[in-house]
């Protein structure tokens, strides 16, 4: 019975839109070298429960040639193995889309990089360290209790040998991630947190081995392995949180991938991947479709919405011979575009050059933990040397002096310090991810916490980046309803915006679309026309820029619908809240002056600049950096990408162009701007907790070090002190989570789209 499960899960909300050109899946099919089966990987949108898994897997299982279909709920991917013709791949996609899920093929080798492999290695090390820690502790506890019950020397040495047998290979295996990083740092003449960790983890068992051979009383195998185990937990969770954010960001990009229609020599069109096009080939860009590549128009006249590329919201007219860029939206008649060679002086090549230059000039950020380590490591090592020298001068034997010095190194090994940062970051990143914000960079949270200036792009960042009806000139609600009945028949972006403004209603039957001109409908009273100026109404150009539709009915004056890019619903609140927190807010846009000024005035942003080229944006950010400002850049367009790279930290909406999304340190989803506020808020709280954690672990060292210097630290004391300090640090980090729950329960239902209350509480 799967009925209860199905009832609990609503059908996915958004299926593929009819006519939306999907990627042709056949080129993504790979042959499995092991068994000769064909494999296809799909990113599936809308899967969220057991019923979804079942629905998809069962529907595919019914196809006789499908050998295996498995949904991965964590990564929202579907892996299918089938036999026969690779062209059957499109049948698989059609089956999944028929169930109401959107499915996009992707190349797994491009989505999974070294990340997944590194995560697996850490998990394996973690398992080995955990196994070793458990078993050694069993033996170590026996030894400790033996101290009080008079265990014989032979038994103790025997137990020590067993500990050594487990610990030495385990440390050699599970310590590799730390050793590698420490070696890499030392080779570059630097030191990081992994250097003291590696030193302690290597020295402790070495000395213990010597002690064991001498049949000595104390062995620190348990300390070394437990330390490794704790640190690996922190490392693994940290890596996993970031890997999940990166994978989610990659999935967003894969879902947006669209096919382009290549014009074949025989004149037919064929959907292909944009990467597979070669310079000189021609593609067809239909009305309402995004141009998939950089190129030159060879036939057709139309208007392009270039807001995603230049920030300009007024549509640009294009005609044969004009260069067009990937990411622009065709508002008018279909266009034939000849693909330009990559790096042929295109806008993209210029953007990439600017980005590289900006990244080189940006000063390298050193994470807080590494800065602490730079002071900490020399201090600890000097202290150990002093202890050794001190005991020798005081006349103690070599053995006691060395043991005391080693005890200092073991007890000061920054176990808590190593956990202080990852523990907080994992919780912070997890909290942000629930709110739809994906933090991709490891040091991004620390950089977010230090921000004192926020620079916004306008189009697509402060505004929604989609056209919406702004005004009806020369008509009223009745005209809107009448025009909407025509508009519902069209996929044109402006017609859709018009239909959306009118709300649900009937679509007129018999609407005819004239490509690039508009819509017409024969009614009893004559012909109704909805479309561009010259098509629907014979009116003079009045020089007012902006996207518009005209609506004409016989015997009535033509009505003009004016469209604009509306502000995000909470833009004003967010800007006000940012200023209330003492951050200075600026607006840098590529759009024209009048539009930018209007937006700046409505949001109360005093410092703004319009009509900026990408390099001018970068120049402004570099001026701010020279003034000592730490800037958060929020932008989405291709023209923002260099500025995103130049800012000290960057954020971009999920609707941004690919280049910007990959450049940005974090990506936020949804129609609201509140995530900007939430990211800054969470980052600041995380930073506070990290500092507390570091203070806690240093305070612990201040207490424990004198004991070690004086030679009182036995393995039992070391184990208790180190575990308790680690638990203290982890417990303190969990307060970030508790704070989140309190804020959520005190505010209105805090779902992904109502984060503002939760973030500002």
């Amino acid at each position: 019975m799967s009925a209860p499960v199905s009832a609990a899960c609503p059908l996915p909300g958004r299926a593929a839109e009819p006519g939306e050109p999907g990627l042709e899946p056949a080129p993504f099919v790979r042959v499995d070298p092991e068994n000769g089966l064909l494999r296809l990987d799909l990113v599936v949108e809308g899967v969220h429960c057991a019923a979804c898994i079942r629905r998809i897997e069962r529907a595919l299982g019914r196809l006789p040639w499908v050998k295996e279909a498995r949904v991965n709920l964590t990564t929202r991917r579907l892996a299918v193995a089938f036999e026969g013709d690779p062209a059957r791949a499109s049948e698989i996609v059609a089956t999944v889309e028929g169930l109401g899920y959107r499915a996009v093929p992707f190349d797994p080798s491009r989505l999974e990089g070294a990340d997944a492999a590194a995560e697996k290695e850490l998990l394996l090390c973690l398992a080995v360290a955990g196994f070793a820690a458990g078993n050694i502790m069993l033996l170590a506890v026996s030894v400790w209790s033996g101290h009080f019950t008079g265990m014989g020397e032979a038994t103790r040495t025997f137990l020590h040998w067993f500990q050594a047998l487990i610990a030495l290979p385990a440390i050699a295996f599970a310590g590799r991630p730390f050793f590698r990083s420490a070696l890499a740092a030392l080779r570059r003449g630097r030191t990081n947190m992994d250097v003291p960790i590696s030193l302690a983890v290597i020295l402790a068992p070495t000395v213990s081995l010597v002690e064991t051979i001498r049949a000595g009383e104390h062995a620190y195998f348990d300390s070394a392995v437990t330390l490794l185990f704790f640190l690996l937990i922190g490392r693994y969770l940290d890596r996993r949180a970031r890997g999940a954010a990166r994978a989610a960001a990659a999935r967003l990009l894969a879902l947006r991938a669209q096919a382009v229609s290549r014009i074949e020599p025989d004149g037919t069109t064929r959907p292909v991947r944009p990467e597979s096009l070669e310079p000189g080939q021609e593609i067809l860009v239909a009305t309402g479709e995004r141009v998939g590549v950089d190129g030159e128009v060879v036939a057709g006249r139309s208007e392009l919405d270039t807001s995603l590329v230049t920030g300009e919201t007024v549509p640009q007219p294009v005609e044969p011979g004009v260069r067009v860029f990937a990411g622009t939206l065709n508002l008018g008649a279909p266009l034939r575009v000849r693909v330009a060679a990559v790096g042929e002086g295109t806008l993209l090549a210029e953007i990439v050059r600017l980005m590289e230059a900006a990244e080189q000039r940006r000063s390298r950020f050193v994470a807080l933990a590494d800065r602490v380590a730079r002071l900490y490591a020399p201090f600890v090592h000097t202290l150990a040397a002093l202890t050794l020298a001190g005991w020798l001068v005081a006349g103690a034997g070599w053995h006691f002096a060395i043991m005391s010095a080693i005890a200092v190194l073991i007890i000061t090994c920054p176990c808590a310090l190593g956990l202080a940062v990852p523990a907080v970051q994992v919780i912070a990143a997890g909290r942000l991810m629930k709110g739809g914000t994906l933090v991709k960079s490891a040091t991004a949270l620390e950089r977010f916490a230090r921000v004192d200036t926020v620079v916004f792009d306008k189009t697509g960042t402060l505004t929604s980046g989609r056209m919406a009806l702004e005004a009806i000139e020369g008509g009223g609600a009745e005209d809107l309803d009448a025009a909407a009945s025509l508009a519902r028949a069209s996929r044109h972006p402006l017609a859709r915006a018009l239909a959306a403004a009118a709300g649900p209603g009937p679509a007129a039957a018999g609407v005819e679309e004239v490509a690039g001109q508009g819509l017409r409908l024969s009614s009893p009273e004559g012909e109704w026309r909805l479309g561009r100026r010259g098509f629907a109404a014979e009116v003079e150009e009045d020089g007012r820029p902006g996207a518009e539709l005209w609506f004409a009915r016989p015997g009535r004056p033509p009505v003009r619908f004016r469209f604009a890019d509306p502000l995000r619903p909470d833009a004003a609140e967010v800007v006000a809240a940012l200023r209330a927190r003492g951050l200075s807010v600026e607006l840098l846009s590529g759009d024209r002056r009048a539009t930018v000024e209007a937006v700046a005035n409505r949001l109360g942003i005093g410092r703004w600049a319009a009509e900026l080229a990408p390099d001018e944006k970068v120049a402004r950010l570099e001026t701010l950096a020279r003034e000592g400002r730490r800037v958060l850049m929020v932008g989405d367009g291709l023209n923002d990408a260099p500025a995103l790279a130049a800012a000290s930290v960057s954020l971009s909406p999920a609707s941004a162009v690919d280049v910007s999304q990959t450049t940005a340190d974090a990506v936020f989803q949804g129609q609201r701007l509140a995530p900007v506020l939430e990211v800054l808020e969470v980052a600041r709280r995380a930073e506070r907790l990290v500092r507390q954690n570091i203070a806690l672990s240093i305070a612990y060292n201040l207490c424990a070090v004198p004991l070690a210097v004086l030679g009182y630290v036995t393995p039992l004391v070391a184990a208790i002190a180190m575990s308790s300090s680690s638990l203290l640090v982890v417990g303190n980090s969990l307060r970030l989570q508790l704070g989140a729950r309190r804020a959520e329960s005190s505010s209105t239902p805090a779902k992904a789209d109502t984060r503002l209350a939760g973030a500002s509480a």
């Binding site: 499960v5 898994i53 964590t74 078993n135 038994t155 487990i166």
Partner: protein
């Protein structure tokens, strides 16, 4: 005391078995989809519709 001589190796061996099982599970991809695994226990595998294919 002499009991320890074989009891400890036995304990270690059992522990190693557990470790080996984990490594096997990791290598065979059982940790690739933890969210999915949590949901899949809700699915029944013995529905009549599936039987013809299972045979």
């Amino acid at each position: 005391m002499s009991g320890l001589l074989y009891l400890i190796p036995i304990a270690l061996f059992l522990g190693l078995l557990g470790l080996a099982a984990f490594v096997w599970a990791l290598k065979s991809g059982q940790f690739d989809d933890l969210d999915g695994a949590a949901q899949r226990i809700l699915l029944d595998d013995d529905e009549p519709e599936d039987r013809p294919r299972a045979g």
